[in-house]
Amino acid sequence: MNRPVLEKNLKLSRRDFIVGSAAIANGGLALGMRVPFDAAHADTSASASQVNIWVAIKPDDTCVIRIARSEMGQGTLTGLAQLVAEELECDWSKVTTEGVTPGQNLAAKRAWGEMGTGGSRGIRTSQDYVRRGGAAARIMLMQAAANQWNVAASELTFSKGVISHAASNRSVRYGQVAAAAAQLTPPDPKSITLKDPKNWTIAGQPLKRLDTADKLDGSKIFAIDLKLPGMLCAAIKDCPVYGGKLTSFDESKVVGMPGVKKVVRVKDTAVAVVADTWWRAKKALDALPIVWDEGPNAAASSATIAEMLKDGLGASTTNGDRHNGDALKAIAEAPKKVEAVYSTPFLAHAPMEMMNCTVKLSADRADAWVPTQNLEASLAALSETSGIPLNKCEIHRHDLGGGFGRRGGTQDYVHQAVEIAKSFPDTPIKLIWSREEDQAHDFYRPISQCRLSAGLDNDGNLLGLHVRISGQSINALLNQKGIVGGRDMRQLQGYYETPGDAQLGYDVPNLLIEYVMRNSHVPVGPWRGVNTNQNAVYMECFMDEVARAAGKDALEFRRALMKNHPKHLAVLNAAAEKGDWGKPLPPGIHRGLAQFMGYGSYSAAVSEVSVSPQGKLKVHRIVLAVNCGHMVNPGQIEAQAQGSVAYGLTAALYGEMPVDKGRMTNLNFDTYEIMRLAEMPKVEVVLVPTYDFWGGVGEPTICVVTPSVMNAIYAATGKPVRSLPLKNVKLV
């Protein structure tokens, strides 16, 4: 395509773009548009015919399916391709994919819709328009064949990329009519009837991922692996205490070191060494004398933050609640009361590929290569910090070496890389954070404490429940408009009354759930599962405490509260059944269960653990049931559920980022321990889809892992576990 012509027509200002980034894409608009694909970035050679923005077909029938979302291991790339291919009715063995860049999307007025990949939305919020894209391309291919044969399109049949006309015994392959199809007017997407998922043959199948091969021989180029002509590398240190500043550094001590080019101040808080290799840059950075002004938070510690949270448990004002009846009165008057205080720590994301970004700035052009969960936010960051207009900026896609929520909206490492690159015009600068920097400057899973109290009648029925969370708010730091009238309901994720997203699965006659905001100086952000993790621990572990006080079985006690929540209940029942709830156990093994909802999907788990007389925990087996509505790739749903066990259990067993003298500690994997293969329990994933909604997959299952294990420990020891990580808890 002729890029400058498109740019001339580009009417979107940066403000429009950023505002627009939050909106859901208009798929209908996207489909109706003719958007030439930028050949400079596309694998699609000149020989490929772009049927529409989602599909290009080569003469050899290769179907190139365009993917707008980011791939970080979660399998969205394969799932989205399955959805397009399902409606396209092509030969799956001929499918390849190609990533759309945010510059292309911007130039096409966001024809590919939203690119942000978080909140388990990658498939569920784009499924409708990508399926219509595949169907529209198929209709155009059919029409092209009909025109060629001068017959009605309704007389044609299609299968696996071949169009046939039975009456004349003719057939043609997609690759043979793609060029003609590309010239046709696209159908009105609203006129398209999508296939009933019951009739899917490509989607819905546990197909192998499309992106495995180059992960097997080291040939996959992650952003951290990028090598560009003339490229220099940067290592960075930001002030170890948030709120502090860089006072000074003594460049003279390192300028003569091998490969070192320059020491660069990065905004007010950080310093970077730029060298010909990253190792040399890091070595010089380690040798660089730096003076920090640690600022007002230098005395903060885990203990001071815990005191702040404790204060919130007794505060007179709250920042969001849901309630029915009069829980406080019901509990006060109840013949039997249960009360407990729980806590969960800050956690780092620790994706295997640490933060990195390569930036090249020229007088009127900015390019960045970055692992990002939000390509458009990266583009905006590149433009904002470089001062170069959005339409002269581009983000070059790289799949991520893990994301888990770390690489979404904040783009802090992109801003840094651009700042550094300003000192080196026309030179690509690759900024890589050390693991220590990555651990020290995360946006951590928020810390919180939770006080719960319950009142029971003499028959063990739950009369009232009061839940009060005092904790740090993600919205307060990253999305203030998410706090409405002082109420930050995101913190009550999983406790909502409204169905569909993160609804509490219990009816309690008198219920009060409150959030009290208490923010420390430590930055927080979304961490796989976000607030469902902590909230599931609080609700589900306390449920077991209350059930025990009521003298009831943990499953039966829950069931009595779930009559009006059939989907929650069905998943809990599925986990209980496959998890052998109530059946005899081998000596020393104990079970625990949990259920919760998040990201539009329902999850439940039954865990089996043993606790040795010395207090050593072993998790033997986890049965994890999930209903995500429609299933695009059961194999990948299973993989995500298995992975969520590892990520969740790592946090449960070991995860904490303590604060000492204002700074984060546990800066590498020797102290921020990660679960290894030997500790991985046998995970049995039970898929119980009801095919009547679109739920997420990447995040919903993680939140039930930890409480089910904690409840199994409670069953084993008779002692509830109320704080994490478990390595700090004396189990017996």
Binding site: W278, M352, F404, N668
Partner: protein
């Protein structure tokens, strides 16, 4: 100028003696399949075969390597991803993000070279690399499958 035998080819490298083999491979030789994950021998993303043993290359300084040492990286493990471990990894669809998988595959290949039919506890002991996506269960399955491929020649 140091001489290193990498994947059967002798390469000349000009870098400081304290440069870890990991960074020699990535930044001087151009083999980026070997990954940086921690730099302190915890995660195993940098695993290579060093004289037939799996080693964490972030802990081997260039100055301690001689031309007699045989280094094999993920890029040199096989032609066309044909090693039984790579075939099993593909068959089981092990990788998620893939970042740690070079190291996982090198660790598994070294295990099978020593122990062609490992039991679960052998896999537990040998496969100590970190995977944040949590592919451990499929890694275990794939190691068993690779053992079958290796001992019976069965296709993965």
């Amino acid at each position: 100028m140091a001489k290193l035998n990498i994947n059967g080819t002798v390469r000349e490298v000009s870098a400081e003696a304290d440069t870890p083999l990991l960074w020699v491979l990535r930044e001087h030789v151009g083999l980026t399949g070997t990954k940086y994950g921690c730099g302190i021998a915890q995660c195993g993303a940098c695993s290579v075969h060093f004289n037939g043993e799996v080693q964490r290359s972030c802990q081997i300084p260039l100055g301690q390597i001689t031309e007699a040492d045989k280094i094999v990286t993920i890029e040199g493990l096989s032609e066309g991803r044909s090693h039984p471990v790579q075939r099993a990894w593909a068959a089981v669809d092990v990788p998620q993000c893939g970042y740690c998988q070079s190291g996982q595959i090198m660790a598994a290949a070294a295990l099978l070279a020593q122990n062609p039919k490992p039991a679960d506890h052998d896999i537990d002991a040998a496969m100590t690399n970190i995977c944040r996506c949590g592919t451990y269960q499929r890694i275990r399955e794939a190691v068993h499958m690779a053992a079958d491929i290796g001992t019976t020649g069965k296709r993965g």
